[in-house]
Each structure stands twice: as structure tokens, then as C-alpha cells.
Amino acid sequence: MADTSPDNIPFAISAYTPERLRGALRQMYLIRKFEEGAEDSYTRGLIHGTMHLSIGQEASAVGACIGLSETDKITSTHRGHGHSIAKGADVGRMFAEFFGKETGYCKGRGGSMHIADVGKGNLGANGIVGGGLPIAVGAALSAKRLETGAVTVCFFGDGANNEGAFHEALNMAAIWKLPVIFLCENNKYGMSMSTDRSTAVASIADRAVAYAMAGASVDGNDFSAVSEASEAAIARARAGEGPSLIEAVTYRWRGHSKSDRNRYRSKEEIAEWMACDPIPRMVQMLSDHGIIGAGDAARIEAEAEAEIVQGIAFAKESPAPALSDVTRDVYTKPAA
């Protein structure tokens, strides 16, 4: 039995209602099932192109977004399915995008790497590593000038932290004290390059010092730890105290994309990380603290699964775009 004395109550248990916590678990399952459904659809030839799965990283996506409302923004990455779901996207429209359908989030123009849900505050995944970093700073500048009170969470990977855009974005966010949270999902690799080889500092959060901003490194597979660091950063942002840098240490279970032979890491390492699966850890925490009872987790998982099945069916039935529309939406007002 876990120690449930007040000193040992995890942050998330004290901060959120049981309903929100169950909702967070549900989202984590939904992400896992979504990725598995995407993988399966790819194998069946329903998906064109490539995709990047976030299996194993569910806690960082959900933990970073639980403190956000619909008016808050996120910018996401090529590995963005989890971020979209955590920000409230509809999985049917996500699958429709994968299948290149007119009902997809990008009307079939973008695919996996460009899913956005602007209405829910998701400014989009990005095909360019580091592409979202300055965009997030721009969104934070808007929020400050327009006094919307919105904060922006900028997801990026450990690989992106070596792009020039990282430095420029963090510096501007810091000098202008903008309400933005840089959330680095450090899954140990940028494609085949380990952070040991790509990055001189031990923790990406150490880089916060260079921008005089708050930095924290947390266990990215621990929902509570991610939400705690994120809530603190959101509070600072809303109070006008400027940006924060959070490193969520996690691991991607699958290859980088569909063509990865995993030659740069060992089976043992993968197995070790798979043993730190964020979902059973979340289930354990919730049951230790009486948030879920026997059978609840399985029921929530089954609901998530059903939502995926429905989403895939919706996507399959949806219409394809008309070929004559290939140049639609290049400009807001097309030339006559």
C-alpha cells in the first residue's frame, strides 16, 4: 500500500478534482490507442507518407496541457498526435487527416505532420524541427499586447534545442517577459543522435540560465511531476513574470518514423524504458489515492478504444478532396 500521509500526496492528487484526474487518464489512454490505431492503419496502407508516434510520452503531453484552457495556445511538433489530443482534438478528424480526407483537420492537405486545431488553441504540429519555437513567442507577444491572459506552451524535442531558432526564441521571450512555457520533451534522441552526442549540457533545463529564466527538469513519465512544473510555469506566465523552460525526460518506444531500424540504441535500453510506462504509473497513483476503483482503468481504456474505432470509421467514410481544389487556400483572397 502506498504512503498516503499528507506529506506524500502527489501534486496532481491535491491540485485536481477526481473528475479531472480521470479525464487525464482517459486522455493518456486515448493517445496510446490513437498511436496504435495509426500504426495499424499505416500497416494496412491507409496512410500515405510517414508519421512519428509518441507512444511512451503520454504523460508529458497530458501533464503539460491539463492546466490550460481553450483560450491558451500550444505549438507542437512532428511528433504531435499526443499534444493535439491533450489539447482536446477530435480523433475522428485526426484520422481523417491521416487518410487525406476533406473532413480532416487540414482538409487532407497537411497529413500527420501538420495537424492543427486552431479553435482549441493548437496552432499546429510542424514539419520543421524547431519551427514552432518563434511562433510560440509570437503567440505570447499577441497575448501580452491584446491582454487576453492566454499562455502558450511550446512543445519541442531535445533535437530542436540545437537549432538556432531555439536560442533566438528563448532570448526574445525572456527580454520581453512573455507568457510562454518552453516544454522540451527530451526523449533521449533526435532521430539517431543521442543527447549525449548532440548537446553539451547534461540537462536541457540548464540552458534556462543563459536566458535568465526559470528552468526545471522533471520525470516526463510522471504525470504529476509534469503537471506540477507546468502549473508553476503557467502561474509565473499569468503573473507577468515571463517564460520558463521545462525539460520532461521521457522516451520514445517506437522508431523515429516508419523507416527506422533502431541501429543507434539497444533492445535493453528500450525494454528498460518500456518498464517505466507512464500509463500504469498514472493508474497506480490514481488507485493508491482512491480516485479510481477496481475495474475503472479497464473501463476507461475500453472507452478510449471505442472512440478510436469510431474515429477510424468516420475517417474512412469521409470524402476525399476535389482535385480541382488543389490551389485553394494558398491565399486568403485568391487573385481573380
Partner: protein
């Protein structure tokens, strides 16, 4: 022309031919190094460098962090000071992040310094659409580079030329940009063993004909050859010119062909407007070959939009064999 033509040619894929060129160069010249993202144990995103790291080690087959501007700039600096770097962009689209070092530095430093230095750098760009990778991973940007005095730009369409042009690029004292169409990597063809070069600045007539000159680049050469076979069945004999080098252009080959056939069609995958077709057309219009024209010049290029994800839209965005047949038929039969 081909200094090793006497050596028996085997079949290699386009990717293997490029790898072999790099192998030949690494083996014969200590100054040659390879740089790029995931080109080491991963073997490159398209497996072009493959296992070269096993032979030459990580000091000569150098994985860079995800830092295109810095990485390309390091290659430029190394080329200025005694090395012969071959820099691989993972996708040509990511060269947009490195334009500063390519356009402001590599292309201009020799001129700005009054000829005091040269920049013998080679850059490789996997380009083009057809892989379902959408707008930020499918562009054909060669005309951007060709607009810059100081750069040379080549687009090999066969395994033979891919190897020979890369070895020619390494011998060239100035920066050479090599655009490789991703869909060609698996294409097989005869490739001589050992060292040979294909001259930069020289187009190749792939098919002789008397009715129309079709100037094509990269993968479009193959589509045009396919179209030409069909057109021959209708009694139209097309002359197919593989441009091979975009800068400097082989004026004489193109003009001589137009004088012979009196018709010109340009086919390229990049966006049609303000592209290579415009330059070829203007070159003909400004020359004596203009007097020989019996019909207006026709350009077939990419649609005026980013490359869409949906596979049918993606095809609709670039010229296909049927489009070429229709355009040539209309031009030759005077139904324009």
C-alpha cells in the same frame, strides 16, 4: 567525356551510385569529409551514406546536431580552409534554414574578397514530391539557388550522372549544389566503377527527335521519355534534353535542338512561375533560335501551391505523363 568508359558498367541504384562516388572520394582524398544529420550509424534518412561510417569512422562521416545553419556554415568554413566537405541536408526543404551561409557566405566570399579564396564545398539536397511528406518536405527549390551567382546547381537524373556529377563537383573549386530527387534513389542504371566525372554545365540529349524539343530536369526526364514513346506512336518525334545542370546552363545544346525542331516545351517539377522554364524560354526568345519557332513555347511545371498531402492532390500538383502528352500533342498539332 567519360574517362572510365572502358571500364565495364554494372547496375546500381541512384543512391548506391552516390554512395560509391563518396566512397571513391573518401578513399582517394584525405581532405574529403561527409557532414549531415543522421548520416553515421543511421546511414542517412534515405540510406545514401549507408555504411560508409564503418569504413571511414565518425571523424570523416560526421553526424551534426539538428543545426542546418550552423552545420552548413561549418562546411563552408572548412572548405575555405583546406577540407572538401560534402554536406547532406536531410531534406532539401531544410536548406531554407541555412540560406544565410549558402547565399551570403559560400556564394559570395570569393567575389567579395577579390578572388583571394575559393569555397570548394558540395551540398546534397534530397528534393521533390511523391512521398506523402507534404508541404515542408517535398519542395523543389533548385531555382532559388540557381538565381545566385557564385553557386553551381546540378540535378542528376540517372545513377550514372549522380555519381559522375558528384565527383565533378568535388573537383570544382566553387560551391556546387546537387539536387537529388527522392523518388530516383531506388532507380537502377549502369554505373561505371572507379573514378569518372560528368561535366558540370553540359546537358545530355536522351532521345533524338525532329518535331519538338522537350527540355526536362531530374525526375521529369523519365516522365518525358515515357511521354515521348507514346507520342512516337502518334507520329510525333520528340527530342528529349536532360538539362542536368541548371547553372551554368548549356545554351548551345538547347538552342541547337530548337533550331532543329522549331518547337520548345519545358518540363520541371518546381512551381511553374518564375522557374527554370522561364529562363530557358527567355534564353530561346533572346536568341536567333527564336526565328525558328513554329509555335508558342509551352512550360509545364508544378501547380501554384505548396505540395499537398493527399496522394491524389499531390499528383495533381506536379506534371504527369498524360499532361506532357497532351501539351505536346496540342503544340505540335497547332491546337494551342
Amino acid at each position: 567525356m567519360n574517362v572510365a568508359a572502358d571500364i565495364e558498367a554494372r547496375e546500381l541504384s541512384y543512391a548506391e551510385a552516390i554512395r560509391e562516388a563518396m566512397d571513391v572520394a573518401l578513399a582517394s582524398d584525405e581532405r574529403v569529409i561527409l557532414m549531415g544529420e543522421d548520416i553515421g550509424v543511421y546511414g542517412g534518412a534515405f540510406q545514401v551514406t549507408g555504411d560508409l561510417i564503418d569504413t571511414y569512422g565518425p571523424d570523416r562521416v560526421i553526424d551534426t546536431p539538428i543545426s542546418e545553419l550552423g552545420g552548413a556554415g561549418v562546411a563552408v568554413g572548412a572548405a575555405l580552409t583546406g577540407l572538401r566537405p560534402i554536406f547532406e541536408f536531410q531534406f532539401s526543404d531544410f536548406a531554407t534554414l541555412a540560406m544565410e551561409q549558402i547565399v551570403n557566405q559560400a556564394a559570395k566570399v570569393r567575389y567579395m574578397l577579390g578572388g583571394a579564396v575559393s569555397v570548394p564545398v558540395v551540398m546534397r539536397f534530397p528534393a521533390g514530391s511523391g512521398t506523402g511528406a507534404a508541404a515542408q518536405h517535398s519542395q523543389s527549390l533548385e531555382a532559388w539557388f540557381a538565381h545566385v551567382p557564385g553557386l553551381k546547381v546540378v540535378q542528376p537524373s540517372t545513377p550514372h550522372d549522380a555519381k559522375g556529377l558528384l565527383l565533378a563537383a568535388l573537383e570544382d573549386p566553387d560551391p556546387v549544389m546537387i539536387f537529388e530527387h527522392k523518388l530516383l534513389y531506388k532507380m537502377r542504371g549502369a554505373v561505371p566503377e572507379g573514378h569518372y566525372t560528368v561535366p558540370i554545365g553540359k546537358a545530355e540529349i536522351r532521345r533524338e527527335g525532329v518535331d519538338v524539343s522537350i527540355v526536362a530536369t531530374s525526375i521529369m526526364v523519365h516522365k518525358v521519355l515515357e511521354a515521348a514513346e507514346m507520342l512516337a506512336g502518334e507520329g510525333i518525334e520528340a527530342e528529349v534534353i536532360d538539362l542536368r545542370t541548371v547553372r551554368p546552363l548549356d545554351r548551345e545544346t538547347v538552342l541547337a535542338s530548337v533550331r532543329k525542331t522549331s518547337r520548345l516545351v519545358c518540363v520541371y517539377e518546381a512551381v511553374k512561375t518564375l522557374g527554370i522554364g522561364a529562363e530557358i524560354s527567355a534564353m530561346v526568345a533572346e536568341s536567333d533560335a527564336f526565328d525558328y519557332l513554329d509555335a508558342p513555347i509551352v512550360r509545364l511545371g508544378g501547380a501554384e501551391c505548396p505540395i499537398p498531402y493527399n496522394p491524389e492532390l499531390e499528383k495533381a500538383a506536379v506534371p504527369q505523363v498524360e499532361d506532357i502528352i497532351e501539351a505536346v500533342r496540342a503544340q505540335v498539332k497547332g491546337r494551342l
